[in-house]
């Protein structure tokens, strides 16, 4: 195992602590597909095509990971998605 102060060891430790978070949108039988697509574009900044792709994923598979990154940003996105009455959660990504 490398010594603790080598770049490789520091990077590995940092990854463990700052493992990214996923923002997941879950299916809801009431929300309109067109509305969900619009929310993805306005809140997440998706293109029309990307928004539609994720909307269809939610619709067909029950959920879609729409963003991955820092916990703080993930919480903000979930809050904004909740503000538009979408079902959204944040989850720590699995550690490899």
């Amino acid at each position: 195992m490398p010594a603790i102060d080598t770049p490789e060891a520091v990077t590995r430790e940092k990854t463990g602590v700052d493992a990214p978070w996923n923002v997941i949108v879950h299916n809801d039988p009431i929300n309109l597909m067109s509305y969900v697509t619009l929310v993805f574009r306005n809140v997440l900044g998706f293109s029309k095509e990307k928004a539609r792709k994720h909307m269809l994923e939610v619709h067909r598979l029950g959920r879609s990971i729409v963003w991955t990154g820092s916990r703080e940003k993930a919480e903000l996105y979930v809050q904004q998605l909740h503000a538009h009455l979408l079902l959204a959660t944040l989850e720590h990504t699995p550690q490899s």
Partner: protein
């Protein structure tokens, strides 16, 4: 009922039959439901972490409540501007109020669905609104409010 876009980008609703206008007037109240099933849908948990859920309830939920209330108030104000002529109603949804209408209509749809425990299969039912049948009327309201949402989404596209 006719719908059209004005030069200022507003959505104009004209010749609204009294029955449909009455349903529109109920939009703000529908979203104000105190049914626990509706509350749990309006304020879902953000994840599994207990601390996160606790913080969300105390910090985020009140903010969302105010946001939803504010949207309903905008809709209430717009509905109050409606005019009546020859037994039908007319009103406009200004461009800068469309987000509020989208929110309030969605709140109403989710509240109606929550109170009636509608599932995906119920949404696919053919509609022949029967005002004497509560369930039929509720499904029709969800559909009608959804139609208006679609119009507003199209205008923002």
């Amino acid at each position: 009922m006719t719908l059209s876009a004005t030069d200022e980008g507003a959505l104009a609703l004209e010749e609204i039959p009294p029955f449909l206008f009455q349903l529109l007037k109920e939009v703000p109240d529908r979203g104000a439901s105190d049914d626990p099933r509706v509350e749990s849908r309006f304020y879902p948990a953000p994840g599994q972490d207990e601390l996160l859920v606790e913080d969300w309830k105390s910090l985020i939920q009140p903010e969302l409540y105010e946001l939803f209330l504010s949207a309903r108030e905008v809709v209430q104000t717009d509905l109050a501007t409606a005019s009546e002529e020859s037994g039908t109603f007319a009103m406009e949804i200004p461009k800068n109020h469309m987000d509020s209408w989208l929110s309030a209509l969605n709140q109403a749809r989710l509240a109606i669905a929550g109170e009636n425990q509608f599932e995906e299969k119920d949404m696919a039912e053919d509609l022949a609104p029967d005002p004497s049948d509560t369930r039929s009327l509720a499904l029709f309201e969800i559909s009608f409010f959804g139609f208006l949402q679609e119009c507003l989404v199209k205008m923002q596209d």
